[in-house]
């Protein structure tokens, strides 16, 4: 059945799609747009390691004990660290690791938490009971012993090849999986509580009355309406994940030296902070910029999803 055939339409103003309206609102938010630019610059910065390494002809892993704590020079633009390695290149390579871990672990953990929480709240009943007791169980586990057990898992016993288990990629994925596994619970609880209150609203009933299924209602009504608390929770997670990665690295699994990450560079620099404060300042500043930018980005998303917020 065609709609226009039903009625002679009088069109003066064109209706615009929901997502286009949201994008317009997002662009109004200056902080979010600035953060988007800042994050793109950060991305360009960490990717610059690929052309820069052959250009300057430096091996970022090679130690040179005669060149410890060198000041900035034409060869080492930000000087060298306590093992004589180039700081700039290590910041770039460490940034690739930290940003990828931060974004991936947050995205996987967040998506899992949102799906679990929304399904629990939406379907209710037995499923809700089961999922929430499971979540409570995860919350009850103490973090550090859990991390150590997960970190000590022998990957070859899980069916991965020994070659993969020893490679750097295994360490990287191990960290992403571990962090995602422990960091979804808060998101799930927030998602469930917000879903419960939205589900009872009449606009959801109106959609049901027209025959809407659960996936449609969740995607169209529930998620946009619970976006505000979720975005806050998830943007706060990213900064925490970047630092949690350094804790894991400190415990000896995941990103293992000499591979740098912002987290382990910051950790190493702590002992040398009186000798070479710049070594702590650079990674600290980059983590700071990332966290701030992600939070402003979250602000912008909230603004885009909530038409009542005015800024």
């Amino acid at each position: 059945m065609s709609v226009s055939a039903l009625e002679g339409a009088v069109v003066v103003e064109q209706a615009v799609g929901t997502w286009r309206l949201r994008w317009q609102r997002f662009r109004q938010h200056r902080g979010a747009m600035a953060s988007l630019v800042a994050l793109l610059l950060l991305l360009a910065f960490v990717l610059a390691a690929f052309p820069l390494q052959p250009l300057l002809d430096i091996d970022p892993y090679a130690t040179d004990l005669l060149a410890r704590f060198d000041p900035p020079s034409a060869q080492h633009l930000l000087g060298t660290d306590e093992a004589g390695r180039d700081v700039l290149l290590r910041l770039m390579i460490g940034g690739q690791v930290s940003l990828l871990v931060g974004v991936l672990a947050t995205a996987i953990g967040g998506a899992f938490g949102v799906m679990l929480g929304v399904s629990a709240g939406y379907f209710g009943g037995r499923l809700d009971e089961f999922l929430m007791r499971f979540t409570d169980g995860m919350i009850a586990l103490p973090l550090l012993p859990l991390l150590i057990v997960l970190g000590a898992l022998d990957l070859t016993k899980l069916g991965f090849s020994a070659e993969f288990a020893r490679s750097g990629a295994a360490g990287f994925w191990r960290i992403v999986v571990i962090i995602s596994l422990v960091d979804w619970t808060a998101t799930a609880r927030i998602a469930r509580a917000s879903t419960l209150s939205i589900k009872e609203r009449d606009f959801v009933r109106a959609a049901w009355a027209s025959g809407a299924g659960p996936l449609y209602v969740m995607a169209t009504h529930v998620l946009p309406n619970i976006a505000t608390p979720l975005i806050v929770a998830i943007t706060l997670t990213i900064g925490r994940v970047i630092l949690l990665e350094s804790v894991l690295s400190f415990l000896g699994f995941g990103v293992v030296p000499p591979t740098p990450s912002w987290g382990n560079m910051l950790n190493n620099a702590q002992e040398l902070v009186t000798q070479a404060p710049a070594l702590a300042i650079y990674p600290g500043l980059l983590i700071f910029i990332t966290v701030i930018a992600v939070n402003f980005l979250g602000d912008g998303l909230q603004h885009a999803f909530d038409p009542r917020s005015d800024r």
Binding site: M1, S2, V3, S4, L6, E7, G8, A9, V10, V11, V12, E13, Q14, A15, V16, G17, T18, L21, R201, D202, F203, R205, A206, A207, W208, A209, S210, G211, A212, Y216, T220, H221, P224, N225, A227, F305, D306, P307, R308
Partner: protein
């Protein structure tokens, strides 16, 4: 006239359990209600709060399945195929215009939603349809790309009506659509509802507790008390000569200018709990005419003497 919707002895019960080990009890929200709505007809459903009006409305709108009994749509029982057609042809307008519209959706998407859900027409056609409906319900054209919070209660109710009209329904269940609005706005929305009905051959199930509004709009009135249909009659007959004592009490409760309220005729007390309905006629604890038979035998819904169209469930109907 053919029957659009038929309810055949429909009951809705809710299982209630207090606490983990509490006793299980059954709430009889709607009990053995039979009702037909013809094409293009307006049926008013009246009763106090808690009488089961909204629950019955939700059954007809497809939001709740009856515990017992059957609903038929254009003579077909609701199997999968018929249910899809009925979902399309029966729309609902809610009481609270603030909760009925998704605050994070622009108006054009809200109005087109019933079409989007059933994948009718292309996106461009749906937007065109929303634009023409905005015009039909008397909203400004620039409403399309705005959000619900920018509108007043009356305008929001117009948006809700536009959404209900989008799939060209045969019946709109209006669940107290006016009671959240200012009196001055009520008449505007009421007139809009009447106008669109005349243009589109719509039937309404108009749920209300405002007898004056009901008198203004409906063809037939059904009176619900404690989930039971106690009287159903054409509007003029019911307002002129109510047959059931409860209907009479409802009419007497309407304040009128120039009349002192007949205090002795208003009913006393409150409606009994639907968890433990009284035996016999459910109205007997509050009824002035109650006799022994009322406490034992539940009356059936039968025509009043000499008035075949007026049915009442009372042993001593007028």
């Amino acid at each position: 006239m053919t029957a659009l919707v038929e309810l055949d002895r429909v009951s809705v019960h809710f299982d209630q359990r207090r606490g983990l080990l509490g006793r299980r009890s059954v709430l009889h929200a709607v009990e053995q209600v039979s009702l037909t709505i013809a094409e293009g007809e307006t049926v008013g459903l009246v009763g106090e709060s808690g009488s089961g009006k909204s629950t019955l409305g939700h059954v007809i709108a497809g939001l709740r399945k009856p515990t017992q009994g059957e609903m038929r749509f254009r003579g077909h029982s609701l199997d999968r195929a018929t249910r899809r057609v009925a979902q399309h042809a029966i729309q609902i307008v809610f009481q609270d215009p603030f909760g009925a519209l998704d605050p994070r959706m622009p108006v054009s998407a809200i109005i087109a939603e019933p079409l989007t859900i059933n994948r009718i027409g292309s996106q461009a056609e749906r937007r065109e349809r929303a634009a023409s409906l905005v015009h039909d319900v008397g909203l400004p054209q620039d409403a399309l790309n705005r959000y619900p919070h920018e509108f007043s209660g009356g305008q929001r109710q117009r948006i809700a009506i536009a959404r209900a009209l989008a799939p060209n329904p045969a019946l709109i269940v209006a669940d107290e659509p006016l009671s959240a609005l200012d009196v001055s706005i009520q008449s505007q929305v009421l007139n809009l509802m009447r106008d669109v009905q005349q243009q589109r051959q719509l039937a309404y199930l108009f749920i209300s507790h405002d007898m004056a509004v009901v008198n203004h709009l409906v063809d037939r009135v059904a009176v619900l008390y404690l989930g039971r249909l106690v009287e159903i009659a054409p509007r003029a007959e019911l307002f002129a000569r109510p047959s059931h004592p409860y209907t009479r009490a409802l009419l007497d409760a309407v304040p009128r200018i120039g009349h002192f309220r007949a205090r002795h005729r208003t009913i006393q007390g409150e409606m009994p709990s639907p968890l433990a309905p009284p035996p016999g006629c459910v109205f007997h604890p509050r009824c002035g005419k109650a006799q022994d038979i009322c406490r034992v035998t539940a009356p059936e819904l039968l025509p009043a003497p000499g008035r075949p169209a007026q049915l009442a469930a009372c042993h001593f109907k007028d």
